[in-house]
Amino acid sequence: MAADLTLFIDGREVRDQPGKTILQVATESGLYIPYLCYSPGMKPYGACRMCVVEIEKTRGTPASCTTPVADGMVVWTNTPQLQELRKGIVELVISEHPHGCLTCHRVELCGPQDICLRHVSVTDRCVVCPKNERCELKDTTRYVGMGLTTPLTYRYRNLPVENKDPFYDLDMNLCIVCGRCVRVCEEVRGDSAMGFRERGGLSLVGPAGGSSLLESGCEFCGACIDVCPVGALVEREHKWEKAVERVSTTCPHCPVGCQLKLEVSQRGRVIRAIPQLEAGANRGQACFKGKFGLGFVNSRERLKAPLVRRNGSLEEASWEEALSLVAERLSGYKGDQFAAIASYRGTNEESYLLQKFARSVMGTNNVDHSSNLRPEIAEPLRDVLGYAAATNTIWELEDARCILAIGTNTTEDHNVVAVPVKRAVKKGAKLIVIDSREVELTRYATVWIRPRPGTDSILLGGMLRAMVDEVMEDTAFLRERCDNLNTLKHSLWHFDLNRVEEMTGVSQEEIRLAARTFAQNGPAAILYALDNVPASHREECVRALADMALLTGNVGKPHTGLYPLRPGTNDQGSWDVGCVPHLLPGYQGVADPAARAAFQGAWGVELPQSKGLGVREVFEAASSGRVKAMLVVGDSPGFSNGELGDVLEAAQKLEFLVVQDAFLTGLAQVADVVLPSVSFAEKEGTYTNLERRVQPLRKVLEVKSTQARPDWWIVCQIARAMSAQGFDYASPSQVMEEISRLVPLYAGVSYPRLLSQRGLLEPMSWPNFPIPSQLYPAQGGQRASLQWPCTSQESGDTPILYAGGFPRGKARLAPLEVRDVPIPTTVEYPLLLLPGRVLHQPHRGAEIQVAGHKSYIGRDELLEIHPSDAADLGIGDGDWVEVISPGTRMRLRAQLTERALRGAVSATLLFGGLASRLESSEDPDPFSRVPGLKVLPVRLEKAV
């Protein structure tokens, strides 16, 4: 973009666009102006006055964080007068902050046990502050040059350190009340879990009235910790460990693909994760999983050497022995008696190699990734639109005027996606939530529709019908860009609203209201995970959603589109590189002779042509003996939560099972050979996130004294031990070169491009970095990432799909049909439980019970029952009931309400309960197994 204004900062000529503030422009050009209340990514606040500057021909000393730049401005940031003003401000700020060390010239040289000439007591020293090496107050104080004349006394508040909440420590003795935490929670995250309390000199920050974060609606995203300039808010774990290195990589927990800076301690542990402001996917935000759920990397339970089953038990073996055994045994199971399952955290390269191994070496299409439990949620988009992927970027949602979220618990499953949604609502956008469960987004919803579970596709058909009835479609868009309008309209005649109302339990008025809200508030976007839609109805739902987006002209434009929210970290990438049973890399059907010929040419072998078994069928095939040998990479929640049936039992029927994993999981325990793989932090590769953004994984840690190896290396070694050609890669970068040659969507993707970055200040010799820490999050820089289609090394990427037209010319509207909804309840379990989880319920107070230094939410959990159902069961209001589903029991207090659906009961718990459970879990990686909110058939019993 052309620079259209020029200004001079400290004599240096700076060119930039209008609309920014002086502080932003200065920081982006590497000029330091100290600040405390401002934080990049938030609105200017202008409270602390540290960032005052002098502007020639302007009276006074304006705050540079609130003053917009103008052409020809001459700004001075560091005159003696300004420094005097700043000294005064710092003196006030540190009059309540322990600061003996802040004003000491030898602070870097001081160790915790040293005798202090200034008589700073040990507990007040900077070296014992958990934020010592990233303290912004320290940078500021030193920049301002507070001398030895600074008074050494301060008022210590003498408040106890609050450590009752999961993950957080709050030391309000160190707080300088800059308000960043309060503002980030309210302005950026939309939660307001913290506020200011009291006023004047007593003012501090924190949750309401002495309560805890557990009660106040905290989602434990850690945003307040990340912005806190001092040691008042810190991560509890590894609180006292100092980082010696920071490496940027991609979070392995969900398909948002947050870019995190991982801090590594001297002992080679990952101690903290700090989300990157300059990352396109997360813009400085993360969630409880990325912020606090990476400890598994440091676990002592990690596998250290290959294990081979000898005489019925797994024993350590050498790589040679294990690999030759695997190669020898697998050679006997070529063809469809073999199946491979990739990890849901597998990189593009690993998924590519595994499918290449299965297809070219083992000769079978039985290959899938373990999180591919709902292939239907993106697949129909190929027929209607062209690509099975989200059409727009995550942060475009922020400026949508209407967002429809259906069957998604976004705040927990794809947390950072909920951030722009909440921000959009703050800006006045309408949010329509269609979910039988009460999820966090319902708090922000303009319209919350609770259909009878499973009837979502009929409801959507009803909405489409209402749109057509009231002529709300975008006729110009439909005429120019879509086919099949009449077929769709014809099919909608079956969606008579009376009938829809009867089937879904949602009134016609509500359906019409939702339809109008969506159609009349463009640009509108659709988020969907279809958590509780039966598999047989998901395709129909997706078609209806795609039709709805097309009908209202919400495709191919900014802030519109469809976002399928798949569960696995790299589901999008695994699909792209063909790690699915019916598609070769680049979405080319296995049955298509031309596609097969191309890959046969590239790989030099004959390829199988019949569709293989996916993860949902393969364990059944294993039980029935159709599949005899398997290679499973990584663990998956689906292996243990029953979603895939009894996986362990099926696995035991296999003749030969190889598991590649970092831990001895349940599945690994029944394997014949277990090959130790490294975690995401110890390998290179790329992930493709849910918005088609290819992002690099960087090596954060060296593999220490164990024999664990990256999964791509292991698969290559197995293939080579089986004398296969084409597995001689030296690095994942070479695998990506092959992918970009074979997959046109990835033609422009390469490691050099992904690892390049623009305008980013990287600390040169951290931690003795001479530039103040406030300069790193300069907003101007950008980390490279590419959103496919990226068709050549020279061309750019594609943030918005279909902006220039559809691959087939026109989109093809899909006709819909009314289908009977399967009845999920049984005679034994006649009711449906709709579980819910929200951040807080202001009308129902929560009490905190402390047990063993940890706090838990203690309150009577309520079960909402329709009075007629309750009468049938003889349950009265306030009675204790047991909710029994296969395998679980819960004790809840009945609350009779007309709001409840007949035949369904609902219980909404607090997210805080989950947070404290995750924190106290013994599992090395509990964050990958956050229990989903699954609608379950249950029966009720009156408790005694």
Partner: protein, 169 residues
């Protein structure tokens, strides 16, 4: 006395629903509850958050900002001693010390038995009658109690306060 939580919530909801303020805001809601109950219980913070579509933290931020809101039940009687400039010049200090002595308090607060709450007031708006105290919102000065001298006023007020405290009123 407030017997149980259910009643308390009902009273709070009632107060919120029947506010007389022309513009209903978070602050007017808090004031309505203070009028109804004399204080802001934790349940009220929750109910106001729900009523105004904000969070408990926002409500708490506002409520804790104003020293006039109290968060514990007030005593049965409220004594306010004016220490505005006029009353100060007319001898409010003596009056204040006498009241503190009668209640056995060392500053603002409630007596341990919960009978009397003592508050300082910066001006009760009755400067012409100063020095004044207000007992249960009734402003009392020299004329009101028929005291002709400062000593008599102090004596009379001390007596009245002591009566409140020993329960004979």
């Amino acid at each position: 006395m407030i017997s149980n939580h259910g009643d308390l919530r009902e009273r709070i909801r009632g107060a919120l629903a029947n506010q007389r303020a022309r513009t209903v805001t978070l602050l007017s809601s808090l004031l309505a509850i203070e009028d109804e109950l004399g204080y802001i219980p934790p349940q009220a913070i929750e109910e106001v958050a729900r009523f105004t579509h904000s969070t408990i933290n926002d409500v708490w931020g506002v409520a804790s900002f104003y020293p006039n809101f109290r968060f514990t039940p007030p005593g049965e009687h409220v004594v306010e001693v004016c220490w505005g400039p006029t009353c100060h010049l007319l001898g409010a200090q003596r009056l204040l010390h006498a009241v503190l002595g009668a209640l056995a308090l060392s500053g603002e607060g409630d007596t341990p038995d919960g009978r009397v709450s003592l508050k300082y007031n910066t001006c009760l708006g009755a400067c012409s009658q100063g020095p004044v105290v207000s007992i249960d919102h009734q402003v009392l000065g020299p004329q009101a109690v028929g005291a002709l001298s400062g000593e008599a006023l102090v004596e009379r007020i001390t007596e009245m306060v002591a009566e409140l405290e020993d329960g004979s009123v």
